[in-house]
Structure formats: C-alpha cells, structure tokens
C-alpha cells in the first residue's frame, strides 16, 4: 500500500492557535494597564462562553468534543471578540456576542475550517447593530479619568452596572478618538484643533498607543513564527495609510493623518490577528494582498464616511464574502504552465 509520506513536521492546529493566544498577551497586558482589569473579566467570560457553546454544539452535531475543544480556535475567537468590545462592556454583551460568534458564525456553518465569515467579527457586528449605544461607549483611559475605578468597582460595573454613589456613567466613559473626531468634524472644527483634546495622546489616542504597540509586538512574533504571512498585515497597513495619506494631503484640516488611523481603533489588531484568520481569508499570495488592501480601503471609508466609529468588522465581513472570487481570480502560475 502506498501511504507515504511517512514523516511529517508541522505544528498542530492547537499549537498554531496557542501561539496566536500567546501573541495577544502583550496586547492584553497593555490594555489592562491602560483601561484596568475589566478586560480580564471580559476575556474570562468570553472564553468560558465559547468553550461551553462549542462543546454543546459539537455534542449536538455528534462530533468528538475533546479534539475540537483542544484546537483552541474557539478561545482565539473569544479573545479577539473580547478585545474588540469596549472595556467594561456588561457581562451579557460579551456572552451574547460570543454565543453568536461560536454558534451561528462557526458551528452552524460546520465548525472549524468551514466558516466563511470571521466568527469574532460576526459577533462584533451583531452587537454593534443590536446595541449601538453600549458598543460606542468606551471608558476613558485610567490616566484621563478624574476618579479611576478600582478593579473591584470595574467588576461590579460589568456584572451589575452599578457605580460608586458619587459617579455617573458619563463621568467614566468617553467617545473614542475616532468617534470624537467624527462628531467634532461635523461641528466644522478642524483636525488640528480637535486633536488637541487629551484623549488623542501623542499619535492617535491616549493609552491606545501602548495597546497598538503591544499588538505590533505580538504580530511580529507571529510573523517570525511563520504563523501568518507578511502579505496580509502589509497590504492592510499600506492600503489604510495610503488612503489616509491621500485624503490628508488633499485637506489636512478635514482629514486625520495616516499615523492617527494606524494607531486608532482596531487597526493593528485587525492587521495581525483578525484578517489573518486563515479559514475565512483567501489562500493565494496575491489574493491575500487584494483581500487585505480591500479591508484597509473599506475600513478607511467606513471610518470617514460611515455611520460607525470603526470600520474593521464590516470591512472584514464584506471582504470575507469576496474570498471565493478573489481565490479563483488570483491562482498562481503552476510550474510548467503559462499563466
């Protein structure tokens, strides 16, 4: 019988997913430093929800539970979703989002390897459409808050939505820089004066700069480990900064500079962790460039012209839809064949 090759040398799916989780750790640490321990609670909530729903669905679908839970893909989805949600998101928001991501976007499509859409982004989009108010209310970075919440206060806010007697929700929350910029531009202010506001920090958001840098660090680790290919983050960042740069050059008073767009929102999380989901992404090298550039352009357009503060989730989902087409049109030349 011919069953060669007899040898193999590949990281398992679990190893790959574990390294992705590992690469997220610096980002989580920075996030915790900037916004407090609330994110840790969100991560735990999302992880448990993901594992429980994944196990339940696998049982319903009569699939082996243990190997599929051990692949850690559900945990990656849970973490990415939790990191996309506002810090101090109420517990049920995390649970509902994760439930949607795992049950609807992943398991109902056939589980690992068969989901056409990025599960975390489906979860995020569902929450954004269903609960727009909560989804756009981010807590102010601890450094900017008059009275930063203690860890226990954060936890009680997540579970009971209660604050210490002296505080109101508005006092601890603020718009994100992206949101703030958009609303202030509508009041006919120019970018230079808007970005004097304290939440803008040095580049694109007080504290957010650290989180972004930490994501970059994790992303470089994934590149070095060859878990992700360079095509996706590069094309995304080039497209996003290219768009931002072009608009910025046309009218600097009305459009923020490229650095702001790179540092703001979920840009780097998207570049290294979200669009690099292999299952819902394209497979050919050229296709990866097209896909990521498409996400970059759409993200910019939604940020500047759309009704939502950030455009990553919708851009990713729209480009997910194009993946079969992109793959079919970007097949590389096979050895010994003309193009």
């Amino acid at each position: 019988m011919n069953r060669s090759p007899y040898i193999s040398n590949a990281p398992t799916v679990s190893t790959i997913m574990f390294k992705v989780l590992l690469a997220l750790v610096p980002g989580i640490a920075a996030y915790t430093y900037v916004y407090g321990a609330g994110i840790v609670v969100s991560l735990v909530l999302a992880t448990s929800t993901a594992l429980i729903t994944e196990a339940a669905l696998l049982k319903l679908r009569q699939r082996p539970i243990q190997p599929y839970l051990m692949d850690l893909s559900a945990v990656v989805t849970a973490w990415l979703l939790a990191l996309s949600l506002p810090a101090l998101a109420p517990w049920w928001l995390v649970v509902v989002g994760t439930f949607f991501a795992i049950v609807i976007a992943k398991q109902l499509y056939g589980g690992l390897g068969y989901n056409p859409f990025n599960p975390a982004m489906v979860g995020y989009a569902v929450l954004l459409i269903s609960f727009p108010l909560i989804m756009t209310k981010w807590p102010a970075p601890l450094a900017l808050a008059d009275q930063p919440l203690s860890w226990s206060e954060q936890i009680s806010f997540i579970f009971q939505q209660t604050l210490p007697a002296s505080m109101t929700v508005d006092a601890i929350s603020s718009a994100t820089p992206l949101d703030y910029l958009k609303t202030q531009l509508m009041l006919n202010k120019d970018v230079a004066s808007i970005s004097q506001a304290p939440i803008f920090g040095h580049f694109g958001g007080q504290g957010q700069e650290w989180v972004t840098a930490a994501y970059l660090l994790g992303g470089l680790y994934l590149l070095q480990q060859r878990i992700i290919s360079w095509h996706l983050p590069t094309a995304f960042l080039v497209a996003l900064s290219g768009m931002a740069g072009a608009f910025y050059l046309m009218d600097p008073s009305h459009y923020a500079n490229p650095a702001f767009h790179i540092v703001s929102g979920a840009s780097l999380l998207c570049a290294f962790f979200i669009i690099t989901d292999p299952v819902s992404g394209p497979t050919t090298p050229k296709g990866k460039l097209v896909f990521a550039a498409g996400v970059g352009v759409l993200t910019y357009l939604i940020r500047v012209y759309g009704g939502y503060p950030d455009g990553v989730a919708f851009s990713v989902l729209i480009m997910n839809m194009c993946v079969p087409l992109i793959d079919a049109l970007t097949q590389p030349r096979v050895f010994g064949h003309e193009k």
Binding site: M1, R3, P5, N9, A10, T12, G113, P278, T283, F335
Partner: protein, 626 residues
Amino acid sequence: MNALLNLASRILPGLGRHDDVYAFNGGVHPPEHKAESNTRPIAKLGTPKTLVLPLRQHVGHLPKVLVKVGDRVLKGQLLAEAEGTVSAAIHAPTSGTVTAIDEQVIPHPSGLPDTCITLSCDGLDKWAPLQPINWRLSDKKTLVDSLRLSGIVGLGGATFPSHIKLRSNSQSPIHTLIINAAECEPYITCDDMLMRERADEIVAGIEIVKHLLGAETCLIGIEDNKAAATEAMKAACQQGQALVKVVPTLYPSGDARRLIHLLLDLEIPSDKRSTDLGVQVFNVATVLAIHRYFAFGEPSISRIVTVTGNVASPQNFEVLFGTPLTDLIAAAGGAQDDTSHFIMGGPMMGFDLPSSQVPITKAANCIIAAKPDLFPAPPPAMPCIRCTRCADACPVNLQPQELYWFAKSDNFEKARDYKLFDCIECGCCSYVCPSTIPLVQYYRYAKSEIIAADKAKEAADLARERNDFRLARIEREKLERAQKHAERAAANKNEASAKADADEATPSATPSDSAVSDKQAAIAAAIARAKAQKLASGPAPDQPPASKTAASKADAQATPADKQALIAAAIERAKAAKLAAAQAGLAPKNTENVSPSVQAEIKQTDAIREKARKLTESDTSEPDKG
C-alpha cells in the same frame, strides 16, 4: 521573479552560497538520516540459494520469457527479452537452474503477485560469454540497439528502460545531459556511496551517454549534504567531462523537472518532455551500469541498495536482483525486534512492502526497517484551516488545499482544472499539514478516479461510435435494397409497357394473352413498388417513368451519402412526370386491362404508396432531422 530572487540571494549572505543555481518554489527539509548508512563502505552481498526475478521490474511491457523450467542458465544469460518498444530484458544474476516460472509476491505498491522466474543458484557463479563493445568505434544506432539487450533501466527508482532515452531524436537534439545525483530523499545513500567509491566508472559512463546523446555539456547535480561525493566527482571530472554543480539540500530537488530548473533555470512545460527542450536526465547509478555494459559486457544483474532504519548496522550493499529481502536484512545485522514492516524507497515517496519475502528488484534503491517510533501513525486528521502551508511547500506551485477540497467532494473536473495531474506526489504538502490530512492520498484517489472515468468514457465513446456506424450501415443496406427493388420493378414495368405497346400495335394478338401478361406484369410491378415503399425508411423513389430509368440506375450507383438527395430528386422527377401525364389526360398506369380485383389491389397499393409519400415528403422538407 527569479531574477529578483537571484539578486536577493546575491545580496543576502547565507542565501548566496549557491549563486550559480536557481530556486524552485517550496520544498521541505526533512531530517536527513543519511549518516546512519553512509559511514560504512558498500558491501557485496553473497549469492543466495535461490533468486526470484519478477518480470515486472521496469516501466512498460513485460518481457518475453526465453527459458523454461529445468533450464540451466549461466550468469548474465538472457532470461527474458524486451518485447515492444518500452520494455527491458531480464538476465540471470548468477548461474543455476530455472526451477519455477509462476506468480509470486513482488515489491510493488499494489501488493499483488506477478509472474517471476525462480532460479536455483548452483554457487559456481559461472559467467556466460560476455561481449564488451568499444563504444568509440561503433555507430550510435548499433550501440543503442545493443543496449536494448542490457536490461538497464533508470536506477533512481523510475525504472524507465534506458535504451529508449538514448535513441536519437532528430527533431530535438539533446544539448545538455544532466546527471541526477541529488538524492534528496531522507535515509537513502546508495548514490552518495556510489559516487564516493566509483566516481571514475560513473564519469566513464557519462562519456558514453554524452556521446550517444550528442550532448555538448553535462552537469552533475549533487545536494550540498554530500561533500565527500562532490569531491570525488570533481576529482573524476578533471578533464572537463562534466561540471559538478552543488544544489541546496531541499527536498524534492532530485525530481527531474526540479533539478533541470535548479541547474538551468529552465522550466519544462507541463505538456512537454525535457528532451523536447534538448535536456536529458540520467541517474548516476544508471550511467555506471551503461559503462559496465559496454566496457565488460555485463548486463543489469545487480544494484546498490541502502538498508537502514531499524536494523543493527545500516549499510549499502551491492545486491543481485532477485535476492530475498530477508537475506539483505540479515546482512545489515538483522532487524530489531520492534520492527513492524519494511518500506521500499524513502520515507517521503516510498511504500510498504507486502512481506519480508519479496525479492530485491531494479527499483529497490532503499529498504527501511520501520518501527512505530520511527514512523508514528499520524493523529486523526482535523479539518483543513486553509493555512496554505501546503501551497507554500508545493514545488509545483499548486494549491493543495483547493485540490484537497475538490478531491474530497469528488469534484474531479475542478481538480483537473487546478492542475491535479501536475502533482508529482512528493508528499511535501502532507509533510507540513497542521491538520495531518493525508493530502497525497486524496490526490492519488482523485487521479485514479479521473483516469478510470476517462477510460470508461473512452470505451463508451468507442461503443457509441460503433453503434452509430452499425445503425448507419443498416440504414444504408435498407436503402440499397429498396433501390434494387425499385430498379427491378422499373425494369419489369418497362418490359410490360413495351409488350403492351406491341399488343396495341398488333391487334391480331389475342386479348386474353395480352390481358394475362399485362396483369402479371402490373402485379409484379405493384408488389415491387409496395415492397420498395415498405423497405425504404427514408425517402424512397417513386416509380420512375420509363424514360427516367437510366437516371434511376445512375442514382442507384451513387454513393450512399448522395443517395438521399438523389432520391429526393427522383421523387421530384416522378411528380413532374405524373403531373405531365395528368395534364395530357393520361392515367400513368396500365391498369385498364386488368380485372377489377387486381385493379382494387393496385388502388390499395397506390393508397399505401400515397400515404408513404406524404410521410417521406414531410421528411424531405426537413432533411437535417433525417
């Protein structure tokens, strides 16, 4: 892109080590495991008691057996001769007696038994008279024809008969000979050891092959993990017989198309052979065998085999074909107790041997004793996560994840579109798959299904063609019969009308006579007409008027293809004649003199005829649908 890569390799240190060779996409670096077997010199394995020689040791037709049970044969004697173009001879590896010609298990992936010649060795090892040939003094055609008797096949594992590869081809002369000494599969060291120990003989073989091919240059491609062999070959090539080129160690650089690309930056188009572009590739061991055949007259009776893996002392052996695997294993110190089975070939492309009793054949470059620790069974396959590590590793630049998807869903058309048949089954994709999917298995399955479907389709097409032809023939025969009947009827009628004319002209004749003969003629004509109508499924000719008989005859002689048109024309003519007759106030029939019953019969026949004509007219109005 290649230019860029080469530029990059020149700028970046470390990549620039092989700046005179080119790169192919992908490839993998499996652990080499060559050191186990290449520290000891090649040992000659003794002659066993019996040798079992499968007839199927090469690609192509089975050779024709020339001996029978009980024959005494000498070492090197021809046992079976090449039959057909692509075939190779089999020789007696030692002297002895043929004891059986029957089916035995052979080392083949199918594991099926096949015809083998069993030779009981007499231990004398007595050579048959050998006829060395001075290749410098003979013409090429004689040499290549003689090589057909040598039994030499490609010893790298492909086992393609060598004489075919050396035939002169006036359409695309060979300019470059490439000697494949890459030996990229892990564990295998037979070519490595051969080059270290017998470099001079290899180079002598290269000179012969270069001469036979008329090649101007010869490049020897060796992977950079064989420093000793490279040195030996360089030393042997000092007179410029060939240029030794070191290629990076990267599986599967030993694949012929990959090696040509590495050495010449030449991509052989998928639908062409390397010889179409003037390049021919030979394995080192094969050119050595060719040298020994011409220099000493020795046919192909042995080869170097690497015995490695779970054996006490891995080593290379020179083994007579037909030697039982067990003898070879014993020579390597025996297999350890936990040996589960034996693999022939390397761990990337080899296959499980059906038993330890199989004989060593021309294809056996390596035998690996396997144990579960060495080649653990892969864990259950997980779903494909489209990580494209396989695509990155594919040396042919295929998209294995897409091919897997298509093969799994039996979407064979798509698999073919995505160039499934360019897959060389090197196993790189499976090697790097995080989900441990047996990808190559899926491709082998899809290929065999497509080939089977193609064969079935070919057979069905042939059957349909034959059936169509049969139907056409039946049709043609019907038409011809109809034509003949019509002719005969017309002839009869001619005769009858001539007679009637005569009757009219001679009123003295008795009316009863004329009436009777007329009646007979008319009946015969009517029956013939009816028959003609009935027989002709296509448009049949109406009864032609007497004056048109000649034309009708000509019609009958026309080719069947023209028949339909001619018949239609005949109908038109008949109609015109009928019309003319009606206008002249004449009934076109000689029915006045027959009895009422016969007249009724004729009328009935006419009615049938009319009906048939209506049908045929509607037919001829749409000739395409006939």
